[in-house]
Symmetry: C2
Subunit: 338 residues, 2 copies
Amino acid sequence: MATIIDVAREAGVSKSTVSRVLNRTGPVKAETKAAIDAAMKKLEYSPSYFAQGIRTGRTHTIAMLVPEYSNIFYSEMFQGAEDVALKNGYMVLVCNTERSSTSELEYTRALIRRRVDGIIYNTYENNPKMVEFLKDISRNIPVVFMNRVFSDPKDFSYVCTDGFNSTRKAVQYLYQRGKRKIGYIRNVKQIDVVNERYEGYLMGLKECGLPYNEKWIHQEECRNHTSDYIKLGCMAGSYFAGLDDRPDAVLASVDLIALGCVKQLKECQVQVPRDINVVGFDNLFLDEIYEPALTTIGQPIRELGRHAAQIIISKINGNPVNSQVLFDGKLILRGTTD
Amino acid sequence: MATIIDVAREAGVSKSTVSRVLNRTGPVKAETKAAIDAAMKKLEYSPSYFAQGIRTGRTHTIAMLVPEYSNIFYSEMFQGAEDVALKNGYMVLVCNTERSSTSELEYTRALIRRRVDGIIYNTYENNPKMVEFLKDISRNIPVVFMNRVFSDPKDFSYVCTDGFNSTRKAVQYLYQRGKRKIGYIRNVKQIDVVNERYEGYLMGLKECGLPYNEKWIHQEECRNHTSDYIKLGCMAGSYFAGLDDRPDAVLASVDLIALGCVKQLKECQVQVPRDINVVGFDNLFLDEIYEPALTTIGQPIRELGRHAAQIIISKINGNPVNSQVLFDGKLILRGTTD
DNA sequence: TTTCATTTTGAGAACGTTCCCAACCTCTGC
DNA sequence: GCAGAGGTTGGGAACGTTCTCAAAATGAAA
């Protein structure tokens, strides 16, 4: 593999001059530049990533930690981020943190060792120790969080969908459509962003003057995996199907849960939407191909990814302020509501 | 960030000795090692990826080119590859090639510049020029292909599912179950591995003494995207539903097509499996949650990824022989066949 | 022609490692 | 006590860049 010295020799100049045309730093006579360009082409020269990195400290690589690859939610988000990243000359390295409880820390260390330029966290661990650790990290390298809010926003940059208000509004919509027995299904892991949706549900009930009824709420612990979400939805479906006094509408904290629920309700001969309306949250492409297609509160998933990348690139370029972006969720009406 | 020299100073030794304990190369007295370990810990030392790379030429990074992230097929494959890679101290960089027709080449160049240790190609471009390019690449850096076969196998390493024989057998199964009018749906892009499945279908017909009937075959161009596959399936569903003389069973070259087809058949009041049996190919996790669950020819997706990673790591470690691995597809009976 | 400013170029240090080679210790056996 | 062997350590070159600084070339003005 040709080095900058080979190119310099080929063009009959010094490596400094080659470096100058490479980085457009400092003036170079037109004909010299031409000779160097020719030499680079001839030798198929491409500068060593290492050698550049060791000098500049830049890798032009952004890492993105996600809890699960095969969750289409993250792959869509990733695409948004990558789109912006590539346009700015960065590559995105995805890392799956769900392998073990400590993998978030392990990955972070590995990424720092690789000197990535920035890290996008799509993770939910929120015990005080972890938050302290993250705060520490974000003092040293550019960091953006997704789908996560913090009690002290000024310390962090994040990008998120407003789960509270969009769920609140969805409840109001169902109320307007005549539903009076509105239930909820949720995974009760300590994920702030998902809890906020639940809070929005409660607020929605309150605003509509509807009573809180424990029977219509199905909640359970759930790992952050596609199949586990679906299973949780199925269990909720069975549960609701077996009730004497069923809810007439149910919101789920996540689309996959809603899909599992619909599947199970159908299997138990409970008609959707005739007997129960179901509303999800996320707007995965899956929702559309399901039978019936799922009504959901849509997150601008790709946009979330794009924004995260934008923020992190701006941070890499030296912008010191943390920014917090909150997107509106949009109710998308499909076949599971009437 | 602490360097090896800081550690050496802290421990009162030379950088050579630190390097020795770092890489377990050469003997070091136990107490010296202890002092160095302590110093490394104290200074939170982590060796610079660049500096190591510039000396050793190794990045401990494997790249994987996929045509589409959000296709769960690839994310599952990726997980298999990453699993093996991580265990061997490698990270996997995914790259989406579907952005433009030339992105495969562009990415390859970018990856070479990054000095990745190896590339896993999940791509289908098979014009002679591209094949020549790939052959050239694979002479210079370790390369493995997935879901792709070559006419001259000795030049390449690849990992693939045997689409020909598994489809053949699926046809035989349908025949045994009494089906006599077996159709096929396919995307007709020049993808060898998908064409092989079709060839297997034809061979299956022949072996069962069934006639080839053009009417029962729906084929169309299709981009390599989840939603396009589904759309193609839907169109096929409409087509078959509208036929006077319908097939009694249909195989699809890809699960997503099969799913779209089932969806559309149901919408046209054609019952699955009562009126038409449907068989897919891949075994995505989606198949199971669909209503009815999809019968399919299962690829060992994760295993494919694992094997690809294994092969490439062995190549990185100096193994010069190309290996070709062909997995059997397994017919998985679910709700769309009776 | 000389002087001075400006443009263009090159020499060489630095980045943080690895690795070769030589030097230094510490034994053992005589 | 000494030679020699073997274990242990350090010095310094090398990897391929970037970047500072100074030198050389050019050109304009006096």
